[in-house]
Amino acid sequence: MIEYVSMNPFFGISVTVLLFLLARTIARKLSSPLVNEVILTAIMILLMTWLLDIRLDDYMESTAALQFMIVPATIALSYSIYLNLPILKKYVIPIIVGTVVGAMTNLVSVMVLGKLFGLSEYTSISLVPKSVTTALAIELGRLLQGDVSIAILGVYITGFAGVLLNPLLVRLFRIEDPVVRGLSFGISAHVIGTTKAFDYSEIDGALSSVAIFFMGITTTIAAVVFL
């Protein structure tokens, strides 16, 4: 029976939404940067597929509708940026400077560190989209003819590392300005980092969202021009 049900989209959506809600409740109760609702959901899903002996590919196929929604959700970023138009207008120069510097730093540091740590050029190029949000990273990975799975892996390692480690950098560098803090979260750790930026203040979150938008553009242009 489970084999018959597990490939159905309603199975994938029901299980994912249910576990996501559960993970969100746990994450909110624990309220720790170490507990991320998305990672928690993914862990629970992996446990579930293992316990119920469901093939991971079947689960993936059953959630195609959810994955499809990443594109409209990415387009919706424009709406949230537009709602932050006054803040965007006020800080347009630091936003542009930050995202151009961020895109170039990301590109150069990935390529140099990749060489230093023995990654193939193909793997390093696949990691370049790691500081942009998933939907954009998937397309950029394809555009650069890299490995899209590695691009996504880079995106998530980066996002979660941002949630866990950026607060330490904030303390280390004593960054108290929400403009510097919010923008740097979005520039370095995209949407996942933005969830953490909102913990500091609404302004941090808004600026982090704005940064994701511009970082997507600057990283794409930098990658297309320099790679």
């Binding site: 998305v38 990443i70 594109v71 387009i75 424009s78 630091p94 730093t105 394809r142 803090r181």
Partner: protein, 119 residues
């Protein structure tokens, strides 16, 4: 609260992004183009924000849910990465820390210059 026209706007913008990426002289991802297109349409007030409010708010609120499956598939990619996994993790984390620090510094300097000029 008219949902269908909002879905239509989103769908058309996604489609326009695909069309523009097909004809663009340099290869650019269609979702980036769609995102920029919607932003321009909002700026030019061709699309009023009220006209896409409900669908946009919904998409933004539940966005994290859509990332669950990529995180699951990421585990598969990690398993397939073999001995490249550890360098991938190290490079990603170090590059993230460098990117955060360098851009934070650049923004701080920019703000300092801007604020000193205002005084």
């Amino acid at each position: 609260m008219k949902i269908l026209p909002q879905i239509l706007i989103y769908s058309l913008i996604a489609l326009a992004g695909i069309a523009i990426s097909f004809y663009a002289p340099i290869a650019l991802p269609s979702s980036i183009l769609s995102m920029v297109l919607l932003f321009l349409l909002l700026l030019l007030k061709v699309v009023k924000k009220e006209r896409i409010k409900e669908v946009s708010t919904f998409l933004i609120q539940v966005m994290a849910l859509f990332f669950v499956t990529p995180v699951v598939s990421m585990v598969k990619a990690a398993a397939e990465a073999g001995d490249q996994l550890i360098p991938i993790v190290i490079v990603s984390i170090l590059a993230m820390l460098i990117t955060f620090s360098v851009s934070a510094l650049a923004i701080q300097i920019t703000l300092r210059i801007m604020r000193s000029r205002q005084v």
